[in-house]
């Protein structure tokens, strides 16, 4: 197996495969930077090109492209507060706050380094998981998926503000997020919920316009109101800042690795979706705060808030490949399209990929690693220039940012309604920032609400109430209690009993 592993590296580095990968990386680089147009869509558009390629080349091209999208998406999130990808929203909270403090270089350095570490951990997990992947994936059924989404929702506790008032606000916005997740036809009997007689809402709220509006528009308004550059009066970024960011990543190396593992694991579970990993990782980073003062620093530019999501978002791809390869069941929407690529190049995902076609599987591991190394090194070359964008006068940037924001929202359905959704959530986001309501719980509720509902329904329909007694479900229930407990303990000032009432 080790031999195949090394041979696969040589295979990926052969000129024809590596040149396809370079093309992929260049495409992915831009797709990541531009808001709205996402990795999955681009994969779909590129799929027709692989009909005549050999498997290793095809995956070098497709995966090379896809695995760098999140890495560069974070650059946009940090610099402008506009999510470059739907998967890089959590980075905005602290990354953009750092940019406003004149630390864009440091945030970028930290984000790129953690992205690289995350990608390597994810790829390593893919390689190591190969012998045990089948039992690993089959262990989790619908009841376990439901409980995992509840674990995710429980993290709302640590994404809320401090004190009873902060907690209540966090839970209220979380509930709003869950309600918003209910918009559209319900997945079981097809009843239309909150669709306001609009065909556009049949399939639910599209995440991209919601997130782009919710995060980018408040930043643009803020920039206009302040009338300064993004980094206000902070001194011009220096080269040493980027180095500081890299050092930060290694200073918090265990946090980065833990978040990478979280990302990998969420990636493995089909149907939970890529948008979730970043928020769980962010919440986990918040939990690492040791004092209430440290806790308050999150959202105002703590580098750990950049490191956590950065690592998780990139490690998740390696994880998502695991069920795709071993079962032909995609771990994310991008993987669903990659699955099409398998058939096009004449491969059938399934047990064969772990034996007969092990070389192709291994080449995927290497593609993820090599593509990320290339991207991160290339980004470092431009980093200081990019960081200087935060010193440009706001009035010059605003038209450009507004254009990017609305184009980004519009690309999701090519519908004017996308713009309306972005504007509505932009207004809501602005009010929430202005009156200090936390935005993260709403997003967590929105991305997890559908998963939770779907799998609760299936669990009850299939097992009645017996699902509650499944061993992993019991473990996860304990984990939920642990997550809420530790958030409450961290709140410090909050009396425990009152918090527990809020949590139910």
């Amino acid at each position: 197996m080790l031999e195949t592993f090394l041979q696969a590296l040589l295979e990926v580095l052969r000129w024809n495969a590596s040149s396809f990968m370079l093309i992929g990386v260049v495409v992915g680089f831009w797709v990541g930077l531009l808001p709205g147009i996402g990795g999955a869509t681009t994969l779909a558009l590129m799929l027709p090109f692989v009909y005549r390629m050999a498997p290793v080349q095809a995956f070098a091209f497709l995966l090379g492209m896809h695995s760098v999208v999140s890495t560069t998406g974070e650059i946009t999130s940090i610099l402008f507060g506009i999510p470059g990808e739907a998967t890089t929203v959590a980075t905005i909270l602290d990354g953009h706050a750092m940019a406003k403090k004149g630390q864009a270089g440091r945030a970028l350095g930290a984000s790129l380094t953690s992205s690289l570490i995350g990608a390597i951990v994810g790829a390593a997990a893919l390689a190591l998981a190969i012998p045990i992947v089948r039992p690993l994936v089959l262990m989790f059924g619908s009841p376990e998926f439901f409980m995992l989404s509840i674990v995710g929702i429980a993290f709302i506790a640590s994404l809320s503000g401090r004190g009873p008032r902060g907690m209540v606000r966090g839970f209220l916005t979380g509930c709003l997020g869950l309600l918003l997740a209910a918009v559209g036809q319900d997945p079981q009997v097809g009843v239309q919920r909150y669709t306001l007689q609009q065909l556009y809402l049949w399939n639910g709220l599209d995440l991209v316009p919601v997130l782009v509006g919710f995060f980018a528009i408040p930043e643009i308004i803020d920039l206009a109101v302040r009338g300064t550059a993004i980094a206000a009066d902070a001194p011009l970024g220096r080269l040493s800042q980027v180095r500081d960011g890299v050092i930060d990543a290694f200073r918090h190396i265990w946090l980065v690795i833990r978040c990478s593992l979280i990302g990998t694991y969420i990636g493995i579970i089909p149907g939970v979706g890529g948008g979730v990993a970043q928020w769980i990782a962010y919440a986990h980073a918040v939990q690492s705060a040791k004092t209430p003062a440290e806790r308050d620093g999150f959202g105002k530019g703590d580098v750990r808030g950049v490191l956590g999501p950065g690592a998780a978002v990139n490690s998740k791809e390696g994880g998502a490949l695991i069920p795709t390869i071993a079962f032909g069941v995609p771990g994310s929407s991008a993987m669903a399209i990659l699955l099409g690529g398998f058939f096009v190049v004449g491969l059938v995902p399934g047990p064969d990929m772990l034996t007969k076609h092990l070389d192709v599987t291994m080449s995927m591991v290497w593609t993820i690693v090599v593509a990320n190394i290339i991207t991160v090194v290339a980004s470092f070359v431009f980093l200081n220039r990019l960081a200087r964008l935060t010193n440009i006068r706001g009035a010059l940037l605003i038209p450009f940012l507004a254009l990017l924001t609305f184009l980004g929202a519009y690309t999701s359905n090519n519908s004017l309604n996308d713009i309306i959704v972005a504007l509505v959530f932009g207004g809501l986001g602005y009010l929430m920032v202005r009156y200090r309501w936390p935005r993260a719980p709403l997003v967590l509720g929105l991305v997890l609400g559908e998963v939770a509902e779907r799998y609760l329904w299936i669990s009850v329909a299939r097992y009645g109430s017996a699902w509650l007694a499944r061993p992993i479900v019991v473990l996860l229930i304990l984990l939920v209690i642990g997550v809420i407990g530790s958030s409450l303990r961290q709140q410090g000032t909050l009396p425990k009993r009152q918090g527990a009432v809020g949590a139910t």
Binding site: A40, T41, L43, A44, L45, L47, P48, Y51, V137, L138, F140, G141, S142, Q185, P187, Q188, V189, G190, Q192, Q197, L199, Y200, W202, N203, P270, G271, P323, F327, G328, V329, P330, S333, A336, I337, L339, G340, F343, V344, V345, G346, V348, P349, G350, P351, D352, N413, N414, S415, R454, Y455, W457, I458, A461, R462
Partner: protein
């Protein structure tokens, strides 16, 4: 130098006037762009078929136009169909690729539909879609009739109403009295297969092409198929053969009619006949192109071109079903 620039500019400005009179003798599509509007996001089956067709169509349309694919997702392609019906110009340069079940949606009067499927100018359907019910290989049931007395009930995973994963087993359960338990709500067919693998459910109905890899590796075996078929599974019993009465047969046939025109392509009502005939001709040739067939096979499509006039006839037959049949059908089917 300056004179040269002016001369070039003049030529550019004047060029439309020079090409004007010649256009009459030019092939129908020369210098034009055909847009295929797909009712789904990039990446799904409808999108893949459209993109594959878009690659081969220019070769066979007179004048070799550029063909581009535009995605207009939402409401299971009702939005795109409304657009092509009411907004798009009938100039022969726009065609739509929609959900095959729109015709059933129109039959049961789903909300939001502003088109009449029989008034579109039909290009036809390049591929059909075979539905097959498969169950896990380790179950003792081999023939379709074994499922009548299955004990306990065979659990079938489904995505939701309006999809073949749900409607096909539902009719088998209700009309053919199969002992099935349908658990719906899975996000996609692939997720159901994973549930089959971990024994959360026992089987799945769905398109044969997407199930084939799992049949080949011995996870599931096929039991019953719908009316549309491919040679591989032609020997399987058809759902209509398993019900005794004519009404049940008609209801099942109604469900499977759209699968024969599995990937419908239509143009706006009023599109000139000459364009439609050019499309019929081009689609016929694409469906015989050797390279196209290789690519389509890789992507798992059952290429079987049903020409526009025949597709329209099938649609008319569906909408002309007897009221009592439609009444029964409406009890089981909801367009989603």
């Amino acid at each position: 130098m300056r004179a040269f620039v002016v001369a070039v500019a003049l030529c550019l400005v004047a060029s439309p006037f020079f090409t004007g009179p010649v256009a009459g003798q030019q092939p129908l599509f020369a210098g034009k762009t055909v847009t295929i509007i797909v009712g789904y996001n990039p990446g799904g089956g409808y999108d893949l078929v459209a993109r594959l067709i878009a690659r081969y169509l220019p070769k066979y349309l007179p004048g070799n136009p550029a063909v581009v694919v535009q995605n207009m997702p939402g409401a299971n392609s009702i939005i795109a169909a409304n657009h092509v019906y009411t907004v798009a110009k009938p100039d022969g340069l726009t065609i739509g690729a929609f959900n095959r079940n729109l015709i059933l949606g129109q039959l049961v009067k789903a909300p939001g539909i502003r088109f009449d499927m029989t008034k579109f100018a039909w290009v036809g359907s390049p591929a059909s879609e075979t539905t097959v019910l498969t169950i896990r290989n380790d179950l003792p049931y081999r023939a379709a009739t074994d499922l009548l007395k299955a004990d306990p009930a065979v659990i079938v995973g489904a995505t939701g109403p309006g999809a073949s994963t749900y409607d096909f087993p539902l009719l088998l359960k209700a009309l053919a009295k199969f002992n099935l338990r349908i658990i719906s709500g899975y996000p996609s067919s692939a997720d159901i297969m994973l549930a089959v693998e971990r024994k959360e459910v026992d089987g799945r109905a769905g398109s044969y092409s997407s199930t084939k890899p799992f049949i080949d590796r011995g996870l599931v075996r096929s039991i019953v198929r719908g009316r549309a078929s491919v040679p591989d599974i032609a020997q399987l019993p058809m759902d209509e053969d398993l019900v005794p009465d004519a009404r049940s047969k008609a209801v099942m046939r109604l469900r499977s009619s759209p699968e024969i025109i599995g990937r419908p392509f239509v143009a706006p009502p009023g599109t000139p006949e000459e364009y439609i005939r050019a499309y019929w001709d081009a689609f016929t040739k694409v469906a015989q192109d050797k390279e196209f067939l290789v690519d389509a096979d890789k992507a798992g499509f059952e290429i079987n071109y049903v020409r526009g006039d025949q597709a329209l006839q099938i649609s008319r037959d569906v909408l002309g079903a007897a009221p009592d049949i439609v009444k029964v059908f409406t009890q089981f089917f909801s367009f989603n």
